[in-house]
């Protein structure tokens, strides 16, 4: 379970998160929607401590993420993250991309890491691209590679930061299909997304971010079909 309590985060003088409260249950799929600059992506970075926070508290399975004594490297193995920008390791094959962290961080054997990599690449539909380098893969394939790389750490949670936003429209579908697969498997997902129909279909709950706080949150179908708050209606009206 992830518990976010009154989190504030600033970049210099700009306050991006202004008191965020959120609880995510194990097995839940939560989608974060909202305008750009509303703080959705920043919140994801704060959950796995790639960004620091100014005040408040974030706990993951009872571990205070930002406490000085917390082993954040160990914590991050439980929190897979996939970014909007392509970030495959360019000098490694798809297989080596996925095998690196299990081998170095989890200290699995070479053979085990290799098997893990091949298993998860097949899982995301890249079983025939094991020896390809990222530059030989399409954007959609690179994102699926990034998903496989995160999954190979066997995380309890997946943090997805607009993973389809940098893709050509015809490639979005294949990545969403992969995400559907994850959702069906019961892994806990927090996804920042602009794919509203997708959020409606796979998410348990949807949270609308506005001006650094969660403006409205509710069951996916209710919030998207029948938003209560004026700002949410306005946002959904613009993008649907």
């Amino acid at each position: 379970m992830i518990i976010i309590e009154n989190v504030h985060k600033s970049f210099g003088k700009v306050e991006v998160l202004k008191g965020v409260n959120l609880t995510v249950e194990k097995g839940e799929v939560l989608c974060l929607i909202g305008g750009s600059g509303s703080g959705k992506s920043t919140l994801l970075m704060c959950i796995n401590a790639l960004e620091t926070i100014q005040s408040g508290r974030i706990t993951v399975d009872g571990i205070d993420v930002h406490a000085p004594a917390t082993n954040r490297n160990k914590l991050r193995t439980k929190l897979g993250i996939v970014f909007q920008q392509f970030n495959a390791f360019p000098h490694l094959t798809a297989r080596a991309n996925v095998a690196l962290a299990p081998r170095q961080v989890l200290k699995t054997s070479r053979v085990e890491a290799r098997d893990l990599a091949e298993h998860y690449l097949a899982h995301v539909g890249l079983g025939d691209k094991l020896d390809h380098f990222p530059s030989q893969l399409s954007g959609g394939q690179q994102q699926r590679l990034a998903i496989a790389r995160a999954l190979a750490m066997k995380p309890d949670y997946m943090l997805l930061d607009e993973v389809t936003s940098a893709l050509d429209p015809e490639l979005v579908g294949e990545v969403l299909d992969t995400l559907r697969l994850l959702a069906e498997e019961g892994i806990t997902i927090i996804a920042v997304t602009h794919e509203i129909p997708f959020a409606r279909e796979v998410a348990d709950r949807v949270a609308f971010f506005h001006q650094g706080v969660i403006h409205e949150i509710g069951p996916a179908k209710d919030l998207i079909s029948n938003p209560q708050m004026e700002r949410t209606q306005e946002f959904l009206g613009k993008i649907l």
Binding site: N48, L50, N73, K74, L75, R76, T77, L79, G80, I81, F83, Q85, N87, F89, P90, H91, T93, L100, A101, Q104, V105, H132, F133, P134, S135, Q136, A146, R149, A150, M153
Partner: protein, 225 residues
């Protein structure tokens, strides 16, 4: 030499060949130590700690701006003043290493900074420590982008080794050996062309080795046709 000969002899050729060997040795050793030192300095400058950044920045500026020939003489005299007795050859080798480390440091820093932050974040996000992400991602990715710049430095270094002659370092490197022969046989053009050819061959050797290495990388990461 027991007899004076006004023409180019086999002994002269051997002297130049040995000189070329010395030049290559000076380049290799100072290139190695300069690269190790420069790597550490360039790396340290990417750690967000202002005093270190500026202090090492000063080091880089000093050794990149003061002419190498002055560095040779000052360093060698400095050693003598402090009572350290080091032969001119070793003194020259140390000066060269320090000199080239300043250039390497800037190349290394730009290499480290050329790695997209999101790539490093991805590595950290997988639970890798700073050192793991540095070793497995930042160094190999950054090295590929600055290899040509680094190679250029090493070629420049090879030509700069000729300046150790001001210390009277023995054995003579290629240019000094050539001058010795020129003084005797008074055939500067022919000898300098020969010396130039030696430099060309050695530099070309380095370029070929690096290019082959670079090509093996690029083939791996090339875009599928």
């Amino acid at each position: 030499m027991n007899s004076f000969s006004p023409v180019f002899t086999q002994g002269d050729f051997i002297l130049m060949l040995k000189g070329a060997g010395i030049t290559f040795y000076l380049t290799l050793v100072s290139g190695l130590f300069g690269t190790i030192l420069g790597f550490l300095i360039g790396w340290a400058r990417t750690v967000k700690f202002a005093p270190l950044y500026y202090l090492l920045g000063l080091y880089i500026e000093v050794f990149r701006t003061v002419p190498l020939i002055i560095q040779f003489v000052l360093f060698n005299s400095g050693l003598a003043i402090f009572g350290l007795r080091i032969d001119p050859f070793t003194s020259g080798l140390i000066s060269l290493s320090i000199y080239i480390s300043a250039y390497v440091a800037e190349v290394v820093r730009s290499g480290i900074e050329s790695v997209p932050p999101v790539t490093v974040k991805a590595a950290r996000g997988l639970g890798m420590t700073y050192l793991q992400s540095f070793r497995f991602i930042v160094v190999p990715v950054g090295a590929r982008s600055v290899l040509p710049a680094w190679t250029g430095l090493m070629l420049g270094l090879m030509k700069d080794t000729s300046l150790v002659a001001v210390l009277g370092a023995t054995p003579p490197e290629l240019l000094r050996a050539s001058q010795i022969i020129i003084t005797r046989i008074q055939e500067p053009l022919a000898i300098l062309i020969g010396a130039g050819a030696f430099y060309f061959i050695m530099c070309h050797f380095i370029t070929v080795v690096v290019n082959r290495y670079e090509k093996s990388w690029n083939e791996k990461t090339k875009v599928a046709a």
